[in-house]
Symmetry: C2
Subunit: 272 residues, 2 copies
């Protein structure tokens, strides 16, 4: 099979990576995609580096069996802990969400003060901090783990009093530091964009790794001559979804993240 | 080895089961204990029945290797989904948290209107509903899943505005039904007792499965002639803790659940 016609592979710890898939569908509407949500072991954000690395390698192995031409690690924690290992061991290009988000945040900040929010694991790994510093050492980075944002987003409490109070509590420190950019370092957080923007105020730009990643995927495919040929008019790209537990919950919650086009997900065994 | 001298085995999806262990330590201060927290796969509350059953069987298998004389399933979701299977397949007595909690709630309610709160999985399983109904068919049961309570408890936000608002939102329906008992159907919830009691008001009793379970464990050991002999004065019971991921986080958060006596946990591979 012509390499260009092969699908893109995307995995996440669960549902959050659908925000990345959504951007990829907009930026690269012709590409086929295979998505794996590791819902049997979600969340990764509170798990250790070795555990997350093992899960990531298993997820990548599953997607490779579907003949993918490029792997997108659409999970910040897995990108933080496992990207180097995946890059070394796989023959196809691998792209995470950390570096694209870090690049965009560093480029957009005027006052060189950037806030980064994410899960416990992502923040603890220091991956965004290191990435931004390697891009522009003059940027000062303020990081904060926001563990309640994921359950809030999954519960659908994306506006109202509770969401606002939780956001105020988590964001008060980085707000006090006068940052002009906040990097949403977790794929769930775009769902809470409105309330985060409200708390941070008008002068602060929110950078979403999902969009930044989709742009880099497009550039990388183009560079490597792997962009899909247009093909016949009206062809609909193939969308496959796999989960390691409970397709019902994935579909129910996932619709908030992707759209009503999410209709079917196949159950596989974690680590298979 | 004399069966009576063997330890009690306890497992939970992670940290929450420590509230059960704590009660067991008070009610049965002489018994040795082996605790397993499946922190690599926590939480169980959003996972499916088949996944939770598989994890439960693996956890029980690990504890059996430590020569336990009785197994306590200190996780409501695992009790709801996996207790029957464990009882059938194991040679030692197995006790879950559902039936003890249900018995106490049914006994304590005067107006026979009982509220049950728990994780998505526990509530969806209907296990508390069925248990209470089988004990006293005249009790009317009002159930509500409260997914944000676990992350709130783990984050340590156990009082203050956010906790109160979240509790008000979740509890308004069962409060409106005029229950006089609320059963805390998740091992994390005792940590939030104060805020739940505050929202429900004075006339409502909170029943905690942890205490009810410890009492039943004592009765069952006594019935079966398995209570530990007192032994020499001043002997300290052995406490072993195992986790399937990140002992550091388990110890840090676990201290809020148990006490500062939680000092060490050994890492094992999930499913080993």
């Amino acid at each position: 099979m012509d390499s260009r016609q092969r699908p893109l592979g995307i995995f996440d710890s669960g549902i959050g990576g659908l925000t990345v898939l959504k951007e990829i569908m907009e930026v690269l509407p012709d590409e086929d995609t295979v998505y794996l949500g590791d819902t049997a072991r979600v969340p990764y954000g509170t798990k250790s580096g070795p555990a997350v690395r093992r899960y990531a390698v298993e997820n990548a192995g599953f997607l490779l069996k579907h003949g993918i031409k490029l792997l997108i690690v659409a999970c910040n924690t897995a990108s933080a802990y496992a990207l180097d290992e995946l890059k070394e061991s796989l023959d196809i290009p691998v792209i995470g969400v950390i570096l694209p988000g870090a690049r965009m945040a560093a480029a957009v900040s005027r006052n060189k003060r950037v806030g980064v929010i994410g899960t416990e694991g992502t923040i603890k790994s220091g991956a965004y901090f290191d990435a931004i510093k390697s891009i522009d050492p003059e940027v000062t980075v303020f990081s904060k783990a926001c563990p309640l944002f994921v359950p809030l987003a999954e519960e659908g409490w994306t506006e109202g009093e509770v969401a606002r109070l939780v956001a105020e509590e988590y964001l008060k420190e980085i707000k006090g530091e006068g940052v002009d950019v906040v990097l949403l370092g977790c794929t769930h957080y775009p769902i809470l964009k409105k309330v985060i923007a409200g708390v941070m105020g008008k002068g602060v730009k929110l950078i979403d790794s999902a969009y930044a990643t989709a742009i880099e995927v497009k550039n990388l495919l183009s560079q490597k001559g792997l962009l899909r040929e247009k093909g016949e008019a009206g062809r609909k790209p193939l969308r496959k979804f796999f989960v390691t537990d409970s397709p019902e919950r994935f579909l129910k919650v996932g619709k908030r993240f992707l759209s009503d086009s999410l209709k079917e997900a196949e159950l596989i065994k974690a680590g298979s």
